[in-house]
Every structure is written in C-alpha cells, then in structure tokens.
Amino acid sequence: MEGVNTWDIVHVPSKPRFPPDNQPTVNVFASAIDPKFANSIVRRLNQIAPLENLRHVKRVRKERLEGGKFQLSVILCLARDGEDHLKTIPADMLELTSSYQLSAFITKVCGFPASSKEEWEEQCKLWPTSYHPPTYNIDGITGFSEEDAQSVCSFTRFALQLAAISGVAQVHNAAVIVDPSVKQVIASACDDVFYGQTLTEKTNSHNSCHEQISHHHIDLNGAATQTAPCSNGKPNELKHHYGSVSCLHPWQWSKQQAYTNSCYWHPLRHAAIAAIEYSAARDRQLYPGPAQDIDGFSEMEQVQSSLEDSPLKRQKTAKDKDDARHEEDDNDRTLKLPRPYLCTGYDIYLVWEPCVMCAMALVHQRVRRIFFVFPNTHAGALGSVHRLQGEESLNHHYAVFRVMVPEESLAIVK
C-alpha cells in the first residue's frame, strides 16, 4: 500500500475496477457489411448468435472513412481461442457470411459493461458499447461535498482512535455506526473475540447500551488529537502485528488460550457484529414497545423476499403476498417516524475491510454505506476475496468506500 499525503474517499464499485485503458476484452468475429443489408443481417445474427453475455456491446459499428463516407461493421459471433480462429466459426454463421459475401476478421471488444464514463470512452475506442450510469444513487458514489467529506474523515478518525484505545495489547478492528443525517454516533464497538482487559460494556446489553448512547457527546474533531501509542502504520508490511484483528484472521480464534478464567470470549464477536448488537439494543431501549411495530420486515431478510430496494418500486410492483406485506409495513413506519428500522440510512466506519460474515451481517441490518481504511486481502468480502456489494441476488445493497488516510493521521493507530 502506498503512503498517501491527503485524505481521499474512494468508491469501491460493485464490479472489479480495471484501469480504463486496460479493461478485459474478448475476441469476436466481425465483418464489414453493406448498409443496405444491415437490417436483415442483424436480424439473422440475433437469431443464430445472440450476444448473451455482451449486452453492453453494440452489434454494429459505424466508422467515418476518409472522404466523409461511412463504413458499417457488424459483430458476427464470439471467437474461441485456438490456433486457427477462422475454423471455429459455426456452420450457420458460415452460411450467412457466404450468402452476403462477408469476410470475417477478428477484433477485440470489452468484456464487461463500463462503470464510468471514462471507462466507456476507452471501450468505444475498441468497439462501441452502451453505457448506463448507475440507476441507484447513494450519496458519495458521485463524489462528496466538502462538508460530507469532512464528516467522513472525522468518523474515520474516531474509528481509528477506538481501535488504538482497544488495542493496548493487540490491534483490533473497530466499528462505528453513524446516523449521517444528524452526524451522530449510534453505536460503536471493537473486536470482542477476546477481551481480557476491557470488560466494560460487554457483560450485558443494557449497560453497553448506555455506554454507546453516551458516545453521542464525543467531540469528533477533538477525538483524533488525543494521544495514543504510535507506529508508522503500513498494515501490509507489519502483518504479523495484526493477527488479532478478527476479520483478517477469522479462523485463528481456536489457537488462542483464554487469558484468564474470568475473561469472556466469543469467536464471532467481530467489531461489526458487536456494533450491530449495540445498535439493536439502543433501538430497543429508545423505542420500547411491542415488537409487532416492526413486525414482518426484518424477517423477510432471511428468505424468499422477492423485493427490490426502493420502497417506491416496492409499492408499484406489489403483486404477491410478500410485497403486500411489505407495503403494510411501510405505512406502519411512516406513521411512526422517526423510529429507525434496523440500520436503514446509517453508515458504518471500520478500520479494516470486513470478512464475509460481517459484510453479510451489514446487508441484513440494512446499512447504507460502509467506509473502511485498510483492505483485507485474505478474507475481505467487499472487493478483496468476495464482493457482496455486487451480489445481485441480495435484497439490499450498500455503497462501499475506502478512506485513504494520510500517514500522519495513521500514526494514532496503535
């Protein structure tokens, strides 16, 4: 990892990102065609060789030649790898090429839809593609205002500092759940897998709830200036120091001996899981009342929900039972604002990219945005090993950002 000099917030997209001028390509057969046969050729091609996995690629390319004339070319079919490509053209394609006297050549097209305008412009240099900007828009994907960026930096500092405080003996991950609409900390936690030394706020959820609520009063700008032990943190180079970060080494809990008999430990209490629990405890405390008030919503999580994310879409397309049920709940919620529904609308700040268990827990709890500082190359689920923000079947999708923290601000970690 390169040391950086300034803060930066980088969107981690739902598909792997490649340098715009070095995107993955596939080989296709193409041919120049006579414009007057274009319609019939394309119609026939769509029958015998639809471009199933290349829907973003335009079938026909129009090039301006010297002298102002236009040349049309068309993609015939995918070219399989092999010594002699031309022999791999299917028979019905050969029939078509011979009847229109086409001469096939091999060319490259981009294999994945463009995820930015910049990528799209590069793609079109090879062969034209279509570009659909993301239809959803979570704040930040297209950039942060100065004020929002400041706020992201403050909460990131807070998470770094929490990790530093908890990691007196060992480095831990930290998680801070924030309501960005009021810039308020809802809950925070550190890795709780082993805690010999910091037994506060662990023993029962009511105590921890009070603790978490008191975090509201923390002065976030001041938080980072507090002193903490120092190192010149480059996690990748100092990996051996980070063996206690749960999400980095989730399988290693079993090798630990408990520190003392009285020490409570839990192999699954990674920082994000603990923070979710504190946030739920806060919810139960601040909004007591029968569970039925939110009945039927979170439960859809587990199975069978056939819904799309937007409540608007949900209402429009409500056809089956599930949808109807959700609609009721939506009405229920609007009547009782501002009671939160799980972590809807909330952000979470993590020092390290979460493992797959934590990343999915954050899907279940409906977190809106995830910010992390360090990637987790061996076990990370937001781009390193898995990429849950790009798993289309999930019923909720958060936006993911990596916060680049300058060296001098990292010095507070550990």
Partner: protein, 193 residues
C-alpha cells in the same frame, strides 16, 4: 475425525423434525420460521430459532442463537478456545433453510463438521446458492498472497424435509400481519389444502 459416512438417514429426518419444531415456535411468535438443532455424537446439544424481529437485530438467525447458547455453556464449564474448537469440529447442524452467507461464514469460522438443510435459499444462501462458503477451496484471494489463513469447509447436504420447511414459510406469509394498522388485505385463515 469421523469418516464422512453416517449412521443412517432416518436420523437425519429425526433431527430435521426437531429443527422444524423450532421453526414452528418461531412462527408462533411472528418470526420468519427458521429453526435448527446442533448434534454432537448423536445427541442434540442445542436448539435455536430465528429471533430477528424480537431483538430488532437482523443477524439473530436460528444458527446464531444455537451457537451462542453453546458458547455460553461451554465457557461456563471452563472450556478453553482450543477445546471449544475441538467440540465444534464434532458438531453437525440441522437447519430448516440453507444457511445465509453470514451464517455459512460463521459455521466455517467455528469449524462445524457437517451441515444439513431443508430448502435452499436463492437470495442469500452461503452453501451453494449465492456463495459456496462450505467448500474450502472456493475462497481464492483475487490478489496474490503469500500465506493464507487456514480456511475451513464443511460437508453440506440440502433438501432434507424441504417441503415442510417451505410450507412453514408459506403459512408465515399467508397469516398476514394482524397488527398492521390498515391492512391492505384481510388476514387469511390458514388454508388447509
């Protein structure tokens, strides 16, 4: 460690029936009906049912409930982490619905021996439907890496009493929400047949 061959499939149905009973308890409290049991050496040592609504914590799936119960008891009895890991490596889980990605991750972290589930989970399943976290070879880091931590897979078998599990979901969705202020449709009485 035991060989993969197991005693008999009638045992599987017996354990899954107990998991279904747990799912029914969840249904009675207006939770999504998912239930599970954990079996060690032929003995049911823990049960769990979904409690996401009651806790307002959408991670409180049946598996997590049963696991927490076990961890609590084993620690009370003074077991150390290596001893607990040894215990989990002898545990089989029976759950009415394919574990979600989160739970499948947790089962891998804990090192369960085998997992049996009822119906599949197309949207969230972590044991073959969306991700395959039970298969230890499935996680290959995209970026080059020197030493990977030891990942654990577990044997996974689906489709045991799947129709019973699905029937419970169906009654859950059919019973409607009796507490909704303005029902958009009447609360249905259970339709038999």
């Amino acid at each position: 460690m035991e060989s993969p061959s197991r005693s008999s499939s009638s045992d599987d149905y017996r354990y899954m029936q107990l998991a279904i009973e747990q799912a029914k308890l969840a249904l009675e409290t207006l939770e999504v009906p998912v239930g599970c049991v954990i079996v060690e050496s032929g003995e049911v040592i823990a049960t769990g049912r979904n409690r996401t609504t009651e806790t307002r914590n959408a991670t409180r799936h049946a598996e997590m409930e049963a696991i927490d119960d076990l961890l609590h008891r084993w620690q009370k009895n003074g077991l150390t982490p290596p001893q607990v890991a040894e215990k989990f490596s002898k545990c089989n889980l029976y759950v009415t619905c394919e574990p979600c990605i989160m739970c499948a991750g947790a089962l891998s972290i804990l090192g369960f021996n085998e997992v049996y589930f009822g119906c599949g989970n197309d949207k969230f399943g972590g044991c073959g439907s969306v991700l395959s976290l039970h298969s230890s070879s499935s996680q290959t880091p995209q970026s080059g890496s020197s030493q990977s931590p030891p990942k654990r897979g577990f044997k996974c078998t689906g489709g045991i009493m799947a129709s019973e599990a699905v029937a419970l979901f169906r009654s859950f969705y059919e019973q409607g929400n009796p507490n909704a202020p303005k029902p958009h449709r009447p609360v249905l009485h259970q339709l038999s047949q």
